[in-house]
């Protein structure tokens, strides 16, 4: 029989104002197993904890129930207190009478009644608790960063600087990501390449960083401290180790009709190509869909001209397997497709472009050498219209419900840069709201309007009609309460951004959760913003939600610190609440094995002596080091052979009974 102590916390007035503490304390005294029941204003305070410690010793308690706030908040606190008094820490149960009761009920009688039920439930469970001892597991001292944009690079650099090995997996032929495509960065207007490329070089040259470009994660198994990841290195058709990056192949390649991905399709590239001059690694790849050799078997000019003999048409995809202690997701974003917004004539007119396309046009290394020219006729534009919120804040299903966050600032940047360089161009910006929270951000936007004469129009564009070589932009000016028509030469759409498509499959592989927009969810929006709810998986950059470069870098470093904190441990304490199979009940059906997300269940043939006869049966066995205690197996097991320590079927039934009593 257990000797249970119940401790009811007031949480100041947080609980006491809504729940009648005395009633709970008195009711608990009548529960089976309870030998002590008391209350205190702040149970989590040192004074409160010492009351618990003293009571454990004084009453010789075998377990305690603390009626207080969410176990997320103070379960650890109370477990430590119990441990200090010589109790097994898993003999502690929390009844959450704050969030589940006081905070959501107004009626004191009802709240009190529910608090009693919750406390009684915890007691019922505790009566069946058994002391548990956590095991330990090793930590592989190596991190994997998925995505080689600024977020991934920053995380990797910080982890590497702390002395741990890091692999960056990047699906494109080069690292650099979206930031490499940008021209200038707000609010300081320094050139993106000038601040990014040194970091790219640093990552490439760092002893602890290993770049795995043109590669994708194929599968992930394992758990925190010990992930096993299979990475598919796509065939480059170029031997990276002997290529000198001279670029002769790309020059001589006769197939030059592929749209350049890096330049947003605004110009062409060869079939064998290096995405941009500062690409890292500076090794070309052959686009097999475009390559004449791959399409017809003839050509092979690149191989003939290569001085290093690095071209290898027979290269195959290669799968490499590596173990990691931690994984950082830095998969980034892409602009949405504009198929649902044909009223802006993006598909109908070359002169309607996205902001990312404008970045390439403005960039000195871009398709126009940095000259602002209309894509259709390469003429200098005189009037430009920017449309904000294209696809953002859209609840009709055509776009995204969220604010893409970066568009207000980059549009102000574009408008300002254009007015600075070409004062003859009239620039109009249609906006719904201008959102510029951030250090020096609003000042930046105001400078565009006040100093550079950018015409901000509060309203939206309803239609862009390409007419006689111009773009008739029909919009509203809500301040003047009128419809306006602007005859523009170019229209720039501030296109909403969405997570890269790889996020969804990675979420499945890593059992990291994503929200309805496919952004990775954080473990706690305020207090654990860079951790995924899955232990050992961390979030960096826009894959978690829209953010600009300073925020991305800050989050990348934060994620790195979390990784370093994890990798610095030699052993991880494992959760003792793991599943176990009662082999006498197991009938070998394999259901548990099918549903286990961690691959923690194996089946073995075992001899059993039943009624004096030896019988060989197929039974489930749980690898406790791999089990994460999710309980999926216990639910599908038809015979109840699978049980979860700390949350046994019996304990759950006892809880249900206590609630129904």
């Amino acid at each position: 029989m257990q000797r249970i102590g119940v401790f009811v916390c007031w949480c100041g007035t947080n609980i006491a104002a809504t729940v009648d503490i005395d009633t709970v304390v008195e009711a608990m005294k009548r529960e089976p197993g309870v030998v002590h029941s008391s209350d205190y204003q702040y149970m989590c305070s040192e004074a409160g904890q010492s009351r618990i410690r003293n009571a454990i010793k004084e009453h010789n308690l075998t377990g305690i129930v603390v009626c207080a706030c969410s176990p997320r908040m103070h379960e650890t606190t109370f477990r430590k207190a119990a441990k200090a008094a010589g109790l097994n820490e898993f003999m502690v149960e929390i009844a959450n009478i704050r969030e589940h009761c006081a905070w959501i009920h107004k009626d004191r009688t009802e709240a009190t009644e529910k608090a009693v039920v919750l406390a009684r439930t915890a007691v019922a469970k505790l009566n069946l608790n058994k002391p548990l001892t956590p095991g330990t597991s090793d930590v592989v001292k190596r991190a994997l960063v998925i995505g080689g944009g600024i977020a991934g690079i920053q995380s990797a650099l910080d982890i590497a600087e702390a002395g741990y090995q890091v692999d960056i997996v990047e699906k494109e032929p080069t690292i650099g990501g979206k930031m490499a495509q940008l021209d200038k960065t707000f609010p300081t207007l320094d050139c993106a390449a000038c601040i990014l490329t040194p970091k790219m070089v640093e990552a490439a040259q760092h002893d602890n960083i290993n770049l795995i470009t043109y590669s994708e994660v194929d599968s992930v198994s394992g758990f925190v401290g010990n992930f096993t990841v299979k990475i598919r290195k796509k065939a480059r058709s170029v031997k990276a180790d002997i290529c000198s990056g001279c670029g002769i192949c790309t020059e001589k390649c006769p197939s030059k009709k592929a749209k350049s991905e890096f330049n947003m399709g605004l110009n062409n590239r060869s079939a064998i190509y290096i995405p941009f001059a500062q690409a890292i690694p500076n090794v070309p790849v052959i686009d097999r869909d475009q390559c004449i050799k791959f399409k017809t078997g003839k050509c092979g000019l690149c191989a003939k001209v290569c001085p290093a003999d690095a071209i290898d048409f027979s290269q195959q995809d290669e799968i490499i397997e590596q173990k990691y202690g931690a994984v950082v997701l830095a998969t980034g974003f892409k602009p949405i497709k504009l198929d649902n917004f044909d009223e802006y004539s993006y598909a109908a007119s070359q002169d309607v472009i996205t902001s990312l396309e404008l970045e390439r046009i403005m960039n000195a290394a871009g398709p126009t050498g940095g000259k602002l020219l209309r894509p259709s006729d390469k003429k200098h534009p005189h009037t430009m219209v920017f449309v904000q919120c294209v696809g953002s804040r859209d609840t009709t299903g055509c776009g995204k419900t969220y604010c893409s966050k970066i568009c207000c600032m980059y549009t102000a940047k574009h408008a300002m840069l254009i007015r600075e360089k070409y004062p003859d161009i009239d620039v109009h910006v249609f906006y719904i709201d201008v959102r510029t929270p951030g250090k020096n951000f609003d000042e930046f936007y105001r400078r565009a309007a006040e100093d550079y004469g950018v015409n901000y129009i509060k309203g939206m564009v309803g239609k862009v009609a390409p007419t006689n070589g111009k773009l008739m932009v029909q919009g509203s000016d809500l301040i003047a309460d009128r419809q306006v028509i602007i005859e523009a030469d170019m229209v720039v759409l501030a296109t909403a951004i969405e997570p890269d498509q790889t996020a969804k499959s990675l979420a499945t592989m890593l059992t990291a959760s994503i929200d309805t927009n496919n952004f990775f969810t954080e473990a706690h929006p305020k207090l654990r913003p860079v951790e995924s709810p899955t232990a050992g998986v961390f979030l960096s950059g826009v894959c978690q939600g829209p953010k600009d470069i300073p925020e991305t870098v800050a989050q990348a470093s934060a994620a790195a610190v979390k990784v370093v904190g994890l990798l610095s441990k030699d052993k991880l304490v494992s959760n003792p609440c793991v599943a176990g199979s009662n082999e006498l009940l197991c009938n070998g059906c394999s259901n548990c094995q099918h549903v286990c997300p961690y691959g923690a269940i194996d089946y073995v043939e075992k001899e059993f002596r039943i009624n004096g006869k030896i019988k060989i049966r197929r039974v489930a066995q749980v690898n406790e080091a791999v089990c994460q205690g999710c309980g999926a197996c216990t639910v599908v097991c038809p015979s109840g052979a699978m049980d979860l320590k700390g949350f046994t079927n019996q304990q759950i039934m006892a809880e249900v009974d206590a609630i129904c009593r």
């Binding site: 969804k504 499959s505 499945t508 006498l584 009940l585 197991c586 009938n587 070998g588 059906c589 394999s590 259901n591 099918h594 549903v595 089946y603 019988k615 049966r617 197929r618 599908v636 038809p638 015979s639 109840g640 052979a641 079927n649 019996q650 039934m653 006892a654 009974d657």
Partner: protein
């Protein structure tokens, strides 16, 4: 009855004659001509008692769980519908496939003696089938009836013949209001005497020890607080066999109280089909069922509300 135009009994005799198996799982006549029972035959002369006629409704697959674990190869006679249960049990590693010789036999529907009696035919001595017609010898002389009218419930919606719509009744129950539905099941399930026949016959119920018999489960032999608590037994059973039930219909066939238990399973099957695509448990012996596999496009939980499940 014949299979491949050969009497099934001949096939059985051949098995022993050619030493294909040491034992045969089939049917023998029970106390009356209409209650043929599963039986294991271990020698050719035992086959005198062998029978295969319109009263061999029982599904032999489940008996293999015990029988196939014994020494010596066993041949089993499987009607088309029994094959599903056989496959499912092989899939769940409950039958050692290596030790079994499955023989598929033809079936053109099994007869429910109670339905014959319900036609007002009394004093039945024997029944013989001739195609679609039954010839019934009674103490009052010969009678005839159409076989279709007296088929076992499970044979009316046979998976291997063009049967009726097996979900028609399920749909009717779905259309009820929650109150009507509750009353319907309350009245049906109140008849339950907890004889456990449904469980014992069910090929999906082959646990080493059933949770209802396991003292440690916290639910075994629990006193009923009201007459309706018994129904939870059937609901829990339906959930335990969800995704694995082949809809063999044995539960309803054996229920001495005539509770339409198969409807609960069919409701689950219908929902699974709607949520995860058409799936027939036991169609093969290796695929992973809808409830134990995960696909990216699996239904989201809100589907229940969207379908008006809260009705």
């Amino acid at each position: 009855m014949q299979t491949n135009n050969r009497p099934v009994k001949e096939i059985a005799q051949e098995i022993f004659a050619e030493n294909q198996a040491e034992r045969i799982l089939g049917w023998k006549r029970g106390e009356f001509f209409y209650d043929n029972s599963p039986a294991v035959f271990s020698a050719a002369d035992e086959l005198q008692e062998f029978v295969y006629d319109a009263f061999c409704g029982s599904n032999l697959s489940k008996f293999l769980v015990k029988e196939a674990a014994k020494e010596g190869r066993i041949a089993v006679l499987l009607k088309p519908c029994d094959r599903y249960s056989f496959n499912q049990l092989v899939k769940e590693h409950r039958i050692d496939k290596e030790n079994v010789l499955p023989i598929e036999i033809d079936c053109d529907g099994m007869v429910d003696i109670d339905k014959v009696r319900a036609l007002g035919i009394k004093g039945i001595k024997s029944i013989s089938a001739d195609g679609d017609q039954l010839t019934i010898e009674t103490v009052y002389g010969q009678k005839n009836c159409s076989k279709e009218d007296v088929l076992l419930l499970k044979c009316q919606t046979c998976k291997d013949r063009t049967g009726g719509d097996r979900f028609a009744l399920v749909r009717e129950i779905e259309e009820m209001s929650s109150v009507e539905r509750y009353e319907f099941w309350r009245s049906e399930l109140s008849k339950c005497i907890r004889c456990n026949a449904c469980r014992n016959v069910c090929p999906a119920c082959t646990c080493e020890k059933c949770v209802f018999d396991n003292d440690k489960s916290g639910i075994a032999n629990k006193a009923n607080s009201d007459s309706f608590e018994e129904s939870l037994y059937h609901m829990i059973r339906a959930f335990h066999v969800a995704g694995r039930c082949t809809d063999c219909g044995e539960c309803s066939r054996v229920c001495p109280q005539g509770i339409p238990l198969h409807l609960i399973n069919r409701k689950v099957i219908k929902d699974l089909n709607e949520f995860y695509g058409e799936y027939q448990a036991g169609a093969d012996d290796s695929s992973v069922g809808p409830l134990t596999s995960y696909e990216l496009d699996d239904v989201e939980p809100d589907i229940v509300m969207n379908r008006g499940g809260g009705r």
